[in-house]
């Protein structure tokens, strides 16, 4: 049980020595995606086969989080312990492949016998990524505190507690220029500073793990792959702003994430990494998991807090902002999972290190869930400033089935569709906003020539319509009216008047809705109207003369 930074370092060293006793780690991806296609069974078969081998003690089979290339899953990754950079990835591994895989790994058979399972790792999908948040994903066992400590876990927290004042901690976050990864892009350091300066005996730190956009699974993957990192980020935030209580709000549809987070909290508390007097300092911090019912609107800060308080998850008008009146009416920091996950490496390597990646105004990297009609669907982390073309065609491997690219949708239901002509735009908060979309939390949906953009807009409006809390009139009724109008275009039954009405209503809903859900709900319709208007015109039936 480490009490000081030195003791933590000693523990890390001891764990490293213990690990060096084995030769290779056979990491089996047990992210939700690989679990869903049976990797759990494959893991059992691998273990069974390995147990019979005379040199079994040289190998360790380890469950890990999402490795990223979900399209080729289930994945098994063999990591050499002696040489950390050597990694062999096996793709589309079936339960029946377990025997020959183990036989070849332990050297009983020629490696060529499993050549068909080898995944090329020198493709741009791997080489063009910059992993900061996901540095441990697919490498460590999310249920093992030892594994996290081995990868320098909790060092940043202990360092901050023993070497930095709360102000200096915030200063590092400010220097890093980290912006909120939930989508808004608000400077994290500034947010922390407002709460740190608020006068109150009690303050709170809340992590938004509600993620509900169609096609997005970034936060889920981080919580499932590296739960301790999120806790460490929250604890550092607690120290910086003067809070001793944190909550992680996770939707109940993420049972794997919930289970791993709860276990991580228990393990961390048992080992003195969370709880009372951390690192022998007066700082105490505890974290609780709160389950959400799966309402998209609860991603909205004020609605999320209402939900944690046990009320209906409705948003309220801001101001007052959370830095004045958050949970229980007290100053509260609310960031999303990815934002907190960025904090430990920032403190470990310094704010300037982080600010060295990305563009002038958008620093660091961004995790995206790449989905749709693209070859390499999965979880990727790329430096800010990479162009959309690189993301879709290099990292994503281009369009599947030899079809033409048509559009890419970023930012989830609140985002917009970007046409081929704007593919060279860099990915950063400002550029995406300029072209009518947003960064959002990081869902990226790629569409090919067969996609109807009216249908796409209708899909997102339907989502917003059913997810609207119903509190304010423009969002409750407006999204339904927009959806019905889009349905008319999709059925080619619209009139010229409908086109005018559609544009007017989009603008009106944007300007009058109470919270972010309503204010951004018309974005998919607005962006497709801007770039694919001919598809809407095609939906106008010929007016009777």
């Amino acid at each position: 049980m480490p009490q000081t930074l030195e003791e933590l370092e000693e523990l890390t060293k001891a764990l490293q020595e213990k690990r060096a006793e084995i030769k290779e780690e056979i990491n089996v991806c047990l992210g939700t995606n690989c679990l869903a296609i049976g990797n759990d069974e494959t893991k059992k078969s691998l273990e069974k086969r390995l147990a019979d081998k005379p040199n079994a003690q040289n190998y360790r089979i380890k469950p890990v989080g999402c490795h990223g290339l979900c399209a080729q899953g289930p994945l098994v990754i063999v990591n050499s312990v002696a040489n950390e950079h050597e990694e062999i990835v096996y793709e589309k591994v079936k339960n029946s492949d377990a025997e020959r895989l183990i036989d070849a790994i332990v050297g009983e058979t020629n490696p060529d016998t499993i050549k068909d399972l080898r995944c090329e790792t020198d493709i741009p999908f791997f080489t063009k990524q910059k992993k900061i948040v996901l540095e441990n994903a697919g490498i460590i066992n999310p249920d093992s505190l030892d594994d996290y400590i081995l990868s320098n876990g909790y060092h940043a927290l202990f360092y901050a507690l023993t070497h930095l004042s709360p102000e200096e901690t915030i200063e590092q976050v400010k220097i890093s220029a980290l912006r909120g990864r939930g989508g808004g892009g608000y400077p994290t350091g500034l947010k922390w500073e407002s709460v740190a300066k608020a006068i109150s005996d009690k303050k709170y730190v809340i992590c938004n793990g509600d993620e509900g956009d169609p096609g997005a699974f970034m936060d889920r993957a981080v919580m499932e792959s590296d739960p301790h990192r999120v806790l460490e980020g929250m604890a550092i935030c607690g120290y910086a702003v003067g809070a001793d209580q944190g909550f992680i709000y996770v939707r109940a549809e993420y049972p794997v994430a919930v289970e791993r987070l709860k276990r991580a909290i228990k393990d961390a508390e048992r080992n003195g990494l969370l709880g009372q007097k951390i690192a022998g300092t007066p700082f105490s911090f505890s974290v609780e998991v709160r389950l959400g019912g799966g309402a998209f609107v609860c991603g909205e800060a004020t609605a999320l807090i209402a939900s944690i308080e046990g009320n209906r998850g409705n948003p309220r008008q801001k101001p007052p902002h959370l830095s004045d009146r958050g949970f229980n009416g007290q100053p509260t920091v609310l960031n999303n999972v990815e934002t907190y996950a960025n904090i430990p490496p920032i403190l470990r390597n310094g704010g300037e290190w982080f600010a060295g990646f990305g563009t002038e105004k958008s620093k660091g990297s961004k995790v995206f869930a790449l989905t749709g009609q693209v070859k390499h669907t999965g979880l990727v982390e790329v430096p800010m400033g990479m162009t959309l073309r690189e993301l879709v065609f290099d990292v994503g491997g281009g369009i599947e089935g030899g079809k033409e690219f048509k559009a890419v949708q970023t930012g989830g239901p609140s985002g917009g569709c970007i046409p081929a002509s704007l593919l060279d735009q860099p990915i950063d908060y400002e550029s995406l906003k300029e072209i009518g979309s947003i960064m959002g939390s990081g869902g990226v949906i790629v569409m090919d020539e067969t996609s109807s953009m009216v249908d796409v807009a209708k899909f997102f409006l339907e989502f917003c319509m059913t997810e609207s809390c119903g509190k304010c009139v423009p969002c409750r009724v407006g999204t339904a009216q927009l959806h019905n109008l889009l349905d008319k275009f999709a059925k080619k039954e619209a009139s010229q008047n409908d086109l005018v009405l559609l544009e007017n209503l989009c603008q009106m809903i944007k300007e009058t809705s109470l919270c972010g859900l309503g204010q951004t709900a018309p974005n998919p319709a607005l962006s497709t109207l801007k770039y694919f208007k001919e598809e809407y015109i095609a939906g106008v039936k010929k007016e009777i003369e």
């Binding site: 997810e467 119903g470 304010c472």
Partner: protein, 242 residues
């Protein structure tokens, strides 16, 4: 007894529609406007209950701010320049009212609240001559199980006045919202028929604050369906002094 917030409040000056006013810093734009006879349309706001900014009719323009803000929940600031009656706001108000009329059944001629309805009056006030969006007309079940009152969700505009008065003034919290979006409904006691509610005090405050015919009294003719709200300022004052 003076409220602690009131004690801390400072006097500020602001401009509403080119007229200068002074007010306390804890007041909202709507309160200051009402005190000075400036009419800002509202449906969900009612004096004596908490403000929720839900109907969006009271949106105003504030100089230097791109976003429109609801007058009912926005506190005044020194030097604030507010416009309550611009072309943009008039247009939005008409659309919001259009949305409300189109959302459920608001055919006045067959409504118990005809001529006593705030939605009806608001339509006339903002000059709504026609509804610009298609009617949605869901068929919703009327709950007439209560001995004295009727809940007709077809006339409801979800202003939540009933929910707030039941919670904040009567202290019973029988009424609440069920489901979300267009499916949202006012329900009694976790969704049971209102007449079977064991905790409803039958005070009728919800019916009196309802702006439309959604909550109405049994046994009264259309001409008699006046809403009596005299109790609200009195009870609010009493509550504050408690």
């Amino acid at each position: 007894m003076i409220d602690a917030n009131v004690q801390r409040a400072r006097t500020k000056t602001l401009t509403i529609n080119d007229q200068a006013f002074s007010a306390r810093s804890d007041q909202t734009i709507l309160q200051v406007a009402r005190e000075n006879n400036i009419d800002i349309p509202t449906l969900c706001a009612i004096e004596g209950l908490s403000d929720i900014g839900a109907c969006r009719l009271c949106l105003v323009e504030i100089a230097g701010q791109r976003e429109l803000k609801p007058a009912c929940t926005t506190r005044i600031k020194d030097g604030m320049v507010v416009s309550t009656d611009t072309e943009r706001l008039r247009k939005h108000r008409k659309t919001i009212l259009s949305f409300l009329f189109a959302e459920r059944n608001h055919i006045c001629s067959v409504c118990v609240s005809n001529a006593h309805c705030e939605l009806q009056k608001m339509g006339a006030k903002v000059g709504l001559t026609h509804v610009e969006v298609p009617y949605l007309y869901p068929k919703l079940q009327v709950d007439a199980s209560h001995r004295r009152f009727i809940n007709d969700p077809n006339r409801c505009i979800l202003c939540l006045r009933c929910v707030r008065v039941c919670d904040e003034i009567e202290g019973a919290h029988i009424l609440d919202v069920f489901a979300r979006g267009l499916e949202a409904r006012i329900i009694a006691e976790m969704g049971r028929p209102w007449g079977e509610s064991e905790n409803c005090t039958e005070c009728g405050k919800c019916v009196q604050v309802c702006p439309t015919g959604a909550l109405n009294e049994k046994g009264l003719s259309v001409a008699e369906q006046h809403k009596r709200r005299g109790f609200l300022p009195y009870l609010t004052t009493m509550k504050r002094g408690r």
